[in-house]
């Protein structure tokens, strides 16, 4: 056989240049390409960022554990008998099998790989190798083998108000610095001073790239357009004021709305003058008869931490959402619904009712499960086309208007910085 005369074309692995237009343009190929996905796994999910792992209350005692994922990488989060939380790759240092097959459990003394019984303590240290010294003087590991040289990779771990974050990177800044004061304050607002309890867990399997969901979370522009529940049943209140906060990195955001007490008075007045136009009313309005648990009139606060964490307060429906990419066009959205240990039975019932607003069957969040898929299908074959993000200007800054895509631009600002794009 004759070798080809033409020299082999060197494969260009460097990513294509980002289109002009600063933060206002996003090329659709970033939602479609294996190369992008692989680069994200290295630079974002294994990079110098913090990733949500679980809540402290889910592993309250020594020997308690949960398994989760950071990007595609399986991770064990474990509370050791010293009381501290540790996290390590769920990958046996021997031949790579999962160390732990269970989603969660209690009272573990150690983790033993089923394949060859290599055993790890609850900090992720290798402490036993089956037949290490051979049998009757034959076989076994060489003299030079040192167990301490063979551990699954360990994550740095940090907690904020009972939320456990981990990072594979030694370069990641301290979590307080990573989040910044504005974000820390608003996490503390929701979770501080009380003991949270998990009241439900669901996974919504999204038919789209993970970034399409994160864009959606940060997109305060779509809220009253896509989600018609509040509008249809005339539950929107003109007397709401809101704003968005985008942190300096662009990657974290808070969107909130609160009752404007002055406007509320005039709305009450208007109500007496005007009959409602809507033909739709809730047959059981107790769904929205909640309680002001934060004593600040804020009825909605959506907070995201770059890259894949969301803390939600929609009235009294509190939840954390963890976004886990499974493939280029498939994403797991893990919902953990939260109550508090000191909830009265009446307050807990309010949370159960308001859980109808969120999750895979949520009146105001079911659409978020399908709209990313509509984009994913819509952009097929359009890898060189671009999304337009000009609502509210070109910057990624905090804004008193929520009719803006500023926090979506913020996502891309942080994303491009980490990805080197």
């Amino acid at each position: 056989m004759e070798a080809s005369a033409a020299p082999p074309r060197s494969r260009d692995t460097s990513p294509k240049a980002w289109p002009a237009g600063g933060l206002t343009r996003v090329p659709y190929r970033v939602f479609q390409k294996d190369e992008t996905y692989e680069r994200e796994q290295a630079r974002i999910f294994q990079g110098p960022l913090w990733h949500y792992l679980c809540m402290e209350i889910e592993i309250p005692a020594g020997g308690d554990f949960r398994t989760t994922k950071v990007g595609e990488t399986p991770v064990v989060v474990s509370r050791d008998y010293d009381g501290e939380i540790y996290a390590f790759e769920n990958r046996c240092a021997h031949r790579g099998a999962l160390i732990c097959l269970d989603t969660h459990g209690k009272g573990r003394k150690d983790f033993s790989c089923v394949y060859h019984a290599w055993t790890y303590d609850t900090k992720g240290n290798l402490i036993g190798v089956a037949f290490k010294d051979g049998v009757k003087g034959k076989g076994g590991m060489p003299e030079t083998f040192r167990m301490q040289d063979h551990n699954p990779r360990k994550l740095r771990v940090a907690s904020v108000n009972g939320l456990v974050f981990g990072s594979f990177s030694e370069e990641v800044p301290p979590i307080e610095e990573y989040l910044g004061e504005e974000i820390l304050t608003r996490i503390d607002r929701v979770l501080g001073r009380r003991k949270p309890v998990v009241i439900g867990r669901y996974t919504q399997v999204l038919p789209n790239n993970w970034k399409l969901y994160m864009e959606n979370v940060k997109d305060s522009y779509h809220a009253s357009i896509l989600h018609l529940f509040f509008t249809t049943f005339e539950l929107n209140r003109l007397s709401q004021k809101g704003a968005i906060i985008v942190d300096a990195s662009g990657g974290h955001h808070v969107s909130y709305s609160a009752i404007d007490r002055e406007a509320a008075k005039s709305e009450e007045y208007a109500k007496q003058q005007l009959r409602s136009e809507s033909e739709y009313k809730l047959a059981d309005p107790s769904l929205l008869q909640g309680f002001d648990e934060y004593d600040d009139g804020v009825t909605l606060q959506i907070l995201s931490v770059f890259p894949t964490f969301v803390l939600q307060q929609i009235q009294n429906a509190i939840a954390v959402r963890q976004i886990v990419p499974r493939a280029v066009e498939s994403t797991d959205l893990n919902w953990t619904y939260i109550g508090f240990a000191d909830d009265t039975p009446e307050q807990r019932l309010v949370r159960l009712k308001q859980a109808n607003l969120v999750g895979p069957a949520g009146y105001i969040s079911m659409e978020d499960g399908c709209v990313g898929g509509f984009v994913q299908r819509g952009i097929a074959g359009a890898e060189d086309e671009e999304a337009v993000l000009e609502m509210g200007g070109a910057l990624a800054e905090s804004s008193e208007s929520r009719v803006t895509e500023a926090s979506v631009r913020g996502f891309w600002k942080a994303y491009r910085a980490h990805m080197g794009l």
């Binding site: 669901y202 249809t232 769904l287």
Partner: protein, 154 residues
Amino acid sequence: MDAFRLIVQAQSDYIRCIDDDRLEEWPDHFHGPCKYIVTSAANYREGLEAGLIFANSRGMLQDRVSALREANIYERQSYRHILGQPAILSQQGAEVRTETPFIVARILQDGDTDLFATGRYLDLYRLEDDKAKLEERIVVCDSSRIDTLLALPL
């Protein structure tokens, strides 16, 4: 008629109502406390109370239907429920508790048909006027993973 036959009749009426897209009639299949919860086996086992759907009044069931009809955005779709035989767990006076396995296929507008959910109905019926009246239905899905969204009731 005996309890078993009354319950089978009630259950087949219920699934035909949903599968035939007569959702407006769906709340009428509930009586008394009208308790309807969709949860997962893992949540149910661990005693985690929050459901995918939670209703404890006829009004909440009606609101679910009006939201689906008037407010929520989702691709046109339908279900095909297949039920197993109800197992009668207990009978005390007019109150009967049953467990019934189900599978639900979801058919999207482009014709894609997928196995959407499997699980069991944990039901409480009151036998009255020669009818089995559903007072409580806890839909325990075997999996906690829901593809895309759960719009129509199970």
